[in-house]
């Protein structure tokens, strides 16, 4: 049993196994599509990613959609961090009103499906507060993800030993100074991995805003399919683009983390 696991963990074996599984999946879907009489047209896909003409590199619709997804996710994540930070502060504060408010907010978000939250912001609160598609999409994603982010902040801050607060207080620091100079720098190390996970999660859930026709990657993919009927090729491509984006991100952060540890 143990020997089997050791063999499976060897890098070469792992890569071979991975390739075998991927090949099986691709072969199975290809064979299935073949049986359906699906007409593969991969050669038509690259133009939706990019074109090379006399004017040089031109991004195609999918890349423009990807850029929109990146902007959407970035804006939503920035707002989610602000909201999550505020909620974490309220929860950590000694104020009963603050804790109560945070608890209600968190319960609400945890118990409303993301899709319903999106409809609420777009169809109900949108008209009231004058939110367009983009505004509704950004706010919905930010609010939805602020819940987990506040939890990440709270856990990160609580993972710093209480003696650190006391030592800071003992040299006359205010709570704010202790927070800024002593607690936060120590808790970033704990927060970085789960925060990366949350960015990946947000990028993935951002696809849902295609239901209100925000022109991001998923919406663009769907539009191309309704023009060309290449549903297999385009959905595979869209999935791959998301995968590349999130893998690049995870890789970037792991480099950052290593630097944090040594630095």
């Amino acid at each position: 049993m143990i020997r089997l696991r050791r063999i499976l963990n060897l890098r070469v074996v792992a890569i071979a196994l991975y390739l075998a599984i991927m090949a099986t999946i691709i072969w199975a879907s290809w064979a299935g599509a073949q049986r359906m009489g699906y007409n593969w047209q991969w050669y038509r896909v690259p133009q939706y990613l990019y074109t090379l003409s006399d004017d040089g590199f031109q991004p195609g619709e999918l890349l423009i959609g990807l850029w929109a997804s990146v902007k959407l996710s970035t804006a939503a994540f920035a707002l989610a961090v602000v909201l999550g930070g505020a909620i974490a502060m309220l929860r950590l504060s000694g104020l009963i009103v603050g804790r109560g408010l945070a608890a209600v907010y968190l319960e609400l978000i945890r118990n409303i499906p993301l899709l319903v939250l999106l409809y609420l912001f777009y169809y109900v609160l949108g008209p009231i507060f004058g939110l367009d598609r983009w505004g509704a999409a950004i706010i919905t994603l930010a609010i939805f993800h602020s819940a987990l982010i506040s939890e990440i902040f709270r856990a990160g801050i609580n993972s710093v030993a209480p003696g650190q607060w006391e030592a800071a207080a003992a040299i006359g620091m205010s709570r704010g100074q202790a927070f800024r100079h002593i607690i936060i720098p120590q808790s970033v190390r704990f927060m970085l991995p789960p925060l990366t996970g949350e960015v990946v999660h947000l990028i993935k859930s951002s696809a849902i805003v295609s239901v209100i026709a925000v022109a991001e990657l998923t919406t663009v993919g769907r539009n191309i399919i309704s023009d060309t009927y290449m549903s297999f090729e385009i959905w595979f491509t869209v999935a791959a683009v998301y995968l590349v984006l999130t893998l690049l991100l995870s890789f970037g952060v792991s480099v950052l983390e290593r630097r944090f540890k040594t630095g």
Binding site: G163, E166, A167, A168, G172, M173, H181, Q186
Partner: protein, 247 residues
């Protein structure tokens, strides 16, 4: 220099839920005086000295430190803490900062000194605790004894009027206790006002002006060390001394 006492505790009490951690404790500490507090574990020694710098607030009685009355949410608590240094059993150094930065952060952020002034101060006190060569290391690279000496230097960098020590050698390996006590003896000889919770009776004999014995949240006995060690007044202090001195 004012000759009024640095610490005046009058009948202070502290409860944690139903547990009476301090029960009408009265103690006065004069400038330049060295007071050593001992007593069994759980007798309220830590709670008492934590009240002296406002890490705990007493429920009843009156506590005046450095001429200011302490109460729940005292507005001058931060000012006061600059004048009252504290050394913890677990060192509580800031692990993300180097030794030098540990010493400089208080002077810079709290006292508002320039980087240059703060560094000068830090190096002076690092010399005082005999580890100038460790300035650029992180706390985790130091031995326990060295870490505690850095913690002492960090407190001294605030140039306090009184230093509180809460069992500063209890978390140390035996071979490192001496180097920390030596630094504390030096400090005592320089005239610093000190309140030290410790069971190091050799140190107590050497520097204490008065011994305070606590049990169950009360001060049971206060006596000069010669008298306390040879002929304690209470049976309880006698029993405690027998236990700790091992005869």
């Amino acid at each position: 220099m004012t000759q009024q006492p640095v610490i005046i505790a009058q009948d202070i009490s502290k409860r944690f839920n139903d547990f009476q951690a301090l029960d009408r404790v009265s103690l006065t500490v004069d400038p330049g005086e060295r007071v050593v507090i001992c007593g069994p574990s759980g007798s309220g020694k830590s709670t008492l000295i934590r009240c002296f710098n406002g890490l705990e607030t007493h429920d009843d009685g009156k506590l005046t430190v450095d001429g200011r009355e302490m109460s729940e949410g005292s507005p001058h608590i931060r000012q006061l803490r600059q004048d009252v240094g504290m050394v913890f059993q677990q060192f509580n150094l800031f692990p993300h900062l180097t030794v030098l930065e540990n010493l400089m952060i208080g002077p810079r952020k709290v006292r508002g000194l320039s980087r240059h002034k703060a560094e000068e101060l830090a190096r002076t006190y690092l010399d005082r605790v005999h580890i100038p060569e460790q300035a650029d290391k992180k706390p985790e690279q130091l031995s326990g004894g060295q870490q505690q000496r850095v913690a002492i230097a960090r407190a001294l960098c605030m140039e306090p009027r009184v230093m509180l020590f809460d069992e500063p050698t209890s978390a140390l390996d035996p071979e490192m206790i001496g180097e920390v006590l030596d630094v504390m003896v030096d400090l005592a000889q320089s005239g610093m006002t000190m309140v030290v919770v410790t069971h190091e009776m050799g140190f107590a004999r050497k520097v204490a002006d008065r011994m305070v014995f606590m049990e169950a949240g009360r001060i049971v006995e206060i006596a000069p060390p010669e008298k306390f060690f040879s002929n304690p007044e209470t049976r309880r202090a006698q029993r405690f001394l027998n236990q700790i001195l091992g005869h």
